[in-house]
């Protein structure tokens, strides 16, 4: 895709759970296509010499090893974690959110 319409931008914003101002919607319709066209330069690369699998820096950078014994480590307690939330029920130990199901 080389150009984004205002409707494309709205659809993408809904997927990304982003609320855009009218100003942002207009600006993105103009800008996203340019940035994407720039990113599309990667299509010009000959990939025959590239490893077929996705590259993960951890695997690229020997002698790195991520393995360790599966032993319990201390972590934050529930009260501390809930305290950072805008709305949590400390008594039952849950985060509270608006109703999901009606009825």
């Amino acid at each position: 895709m080389s150009a984004f319409t205002v409707d494309d931008v709205r659809r993408l914003a809904a997927l990304a759970r982003l609320e855009l101002t009218p100003d942002e919607t207009d600006a993105f319709a103009r800008q996203l296509g340019d940035v994407l066209a720039f990113a599309t330069e990667v299509e010009r690369v000959d990939l025959t010499a590239a490893t077929p699998a996705n590259t993960v820096p951890g695997a690229m950078l020997e002698p790195q090893s991520a393995w360790r014994e599966d032993t319990l480590q201390p972590s934050l307690d529930q009260t501390t974690v809930l305290a950072a939330s805008a709305d949590a029920d400390r008594a039952t130990g849950v985060f509270t959110v608006p109703r999901v199901l009606n009825g």
């Binding site: 982003l18 720039f38 990939l47 590239a50 996705n54 951890g58 690229m60 991520a66």
Partner: protein, 481 residues
């Protein structure tokens, strides 16, 4: 007064020539004097810093601590327990993390004192510190210009000697580029050298914490403290780092320095190119040989970087939904709450999350993300081949000097091109250093040195030799004299 460097501070405090409290006050006073004009700090933690200084002055084991009494500024995307941590975003305004990042624990165990949190582009997405919800930082060499970014506040703090040391973070050049534009030294360590635990995630396969300092000896001392294993970051190297100070004075006789001439052929400002060419002569005079090398895929680094960084960001920033931390948007429905909360993101973050969502969506994933990952492998192969013939690779850090505030803010492509020489190291995981190498039109220029994986010691050794033969790192910006 300008603050002495970290080595001098440590010496003064350990011999009790000065107290940690006196030096902490000096740093805080300098921040009070300079910050209103430069906006380097989002939060100054004066009381907490002074309390720590008092405790350090009273403690018995103080003389052995490697950063005893050294004030340090920390980028605001690194979690500090009980100190507001915003990542430059309204989505985290007022957030006080319940834990310290691994690097903060290490700093405090080493006797350093965190004096505040520095300004940055929102979630480290930017190259100018203008995409901060707390206003732009200003370049101390020319306050109408950007200090670079995203770790602009940290670079400004060190350039003006508000603190002798600072932490930034790198995803595509966010330590090296502001270091270059502000005239200080900055290092992007090998991916995995420093724990990312408590570094707010942007692009997890590239993010690294990186140190800033006014000289290489201080930079090495700070890296020594930050580096090392941490079970809380599974990508963190399990081996201890070497002794960086031990090889700083080894010189560079016989060292082979590679220059990717083709890659540098266009887009570099003449003043930057001149300073770079002169810096190569300095390395040659120090006994190094300068060799041409080829990095055929380096020209694709910035578009490849854009795809990888945006894709990973759209995944990582899914966590900002108003449920567990930060402010919550008011709405009757769950989806409405997500939308209202995420409306707090700034424009650049929204732009990247949109494109990240796009390149990861069905039908496009292979064409963009998978393809970018394979280009990434080719780029790494370029470097592996080059490092068979040379020991370090030299380029300018940034193609231009500091640009005017506002010049690129609504032109994302121009902004991304600021990172043209820095993103390769992040994509390939390699370490890279920026050191001050001169001026163009009274604005600082940085020399970038890229090394083999895990060989930060080599970069520091070259940087130290370069610094012995030049005085660029001693220049103070006019706003800080």
């Amino acid at each position: 007064m300008t603050l002495p460097d970290a080595h001098e501070i440590r010496r003064a405090v350990s011999t009790r020539a000065l107290s940690a409290v006196e030096l902490c006050r000096a740093s805080l006073e300098r921040i009070s004097a300079l910050n209103p004009a430069l906006n380097a700090f989002i939060t100054v933690a004066a009381d907490r810093a002074l309390e720590r200084a008092v405790r350090l002055d009273a403690s018995a084991d103080r003389p052995a601590l490697p950063l005893l009494g050294v004030p340090i500024a920390v980028k605001d995307n690194i979690c500090t327990r009980g100190i507001r941590t915003t990542a430059g975003s309204r989505v985290l305004d007022g957030y006080e993390p319940p834990y310290d990042a691994a690097v903060i624990e290490r700093l405090e165990n080493a006797g350093a004192i965190v004096v505040g949190k520095t300004n940055c582009d929102e979630f480290a997405m930017g190259s100018s510190t203008e995409h901060s919800a707390f206003g732009p930082s200003r370049n101390p060499w020319s306050p109408d210009r950007t200090p670079g970014g995203s770790s602009g506040g940290s670079a400004v703090a060190v350039a003006t000697r508000m603190t002798p040391l600072a932490l930034g973070s790198e995803t595509g050049g966010s330590v090296r580029q502001p270091a270059a534009l502000c005239g200080v030294s900055g290092l992007k360590p090998t991916y995995g050298r420093i724990s990312r635990y408590g570094l707010i995630a942007f692009s997890s396969s590239m993010d690294q914490v990186g140190p800033f300092a006014t000289n290489i000896a201080d930079l090495a001392a700070l890296l020594q403290v930050l580096a090392g294993p941490d079970h809380r970051d599974s990508t963190c190297l399990t081996e201890a780092p070497p002794d960086y100070a031990a090889t700083l004075d080894d010189g560079i006789t016989g060292l082979r320095v590679g220059v990717p001439r083709d890659f540098l052929s266009d887009g570099v400002d003449p003043g930057v190119r001149d300073a770079f060419d002169v810096s190569l002569e300095v390395l040659r005079a120090a006994g190094a040989s300068i060799l041409d090398i080829d990095l055929p895929h380096a020209r694709y680094a910035t578009p490849t970087y854009a795809i990888v960084a945006m894709a990973e960001a759209s995944s990582n920033l899914g966590r900002y939904d108003g449920v567990r931390f930060g402010p919550r948007g008011d709405a009757d429905t769950l989806n409405g709450m997500y939308l209202r909360t995420r409306a707090l993101f700034g424009r650049e973050v929204k732009r990247r999350l949109m494109l990240g969502t796009y390149v990861l969506s069905g039908g496009y994933y292979d064409a963009y993300y998978v393809r970018a990952q394979r280009v990434r492998a080719l780029l790494r192969q370029d470097y592996d081949r080059a490092f068979e013939a040379v020991d370090v690779i030299a380029t300018p850090t940034s193609p231009t000097t500091a640009f005017p505030l506002g010049a690129r803010i609504e032109d994302p492509l121009q902004m991304y091109l600021a990172d043209i020489f820095t993103t390769s190291a992040n994509l390939s995981g390699l370490p890279a250093l920026s050191v001050p190498c001169g001026f163009a039109d009274a604005l600082p220029v940085g020399l970038q040195l890229t090394g083999r994986a895990w060989d930060e010691a080599m970069l520091l050794r070259v940087g130290a030799e370069y610094e012995r033969r030049t005085a660029w790192h001693l220049q103070l910006p006019p706003t800080a004299v």
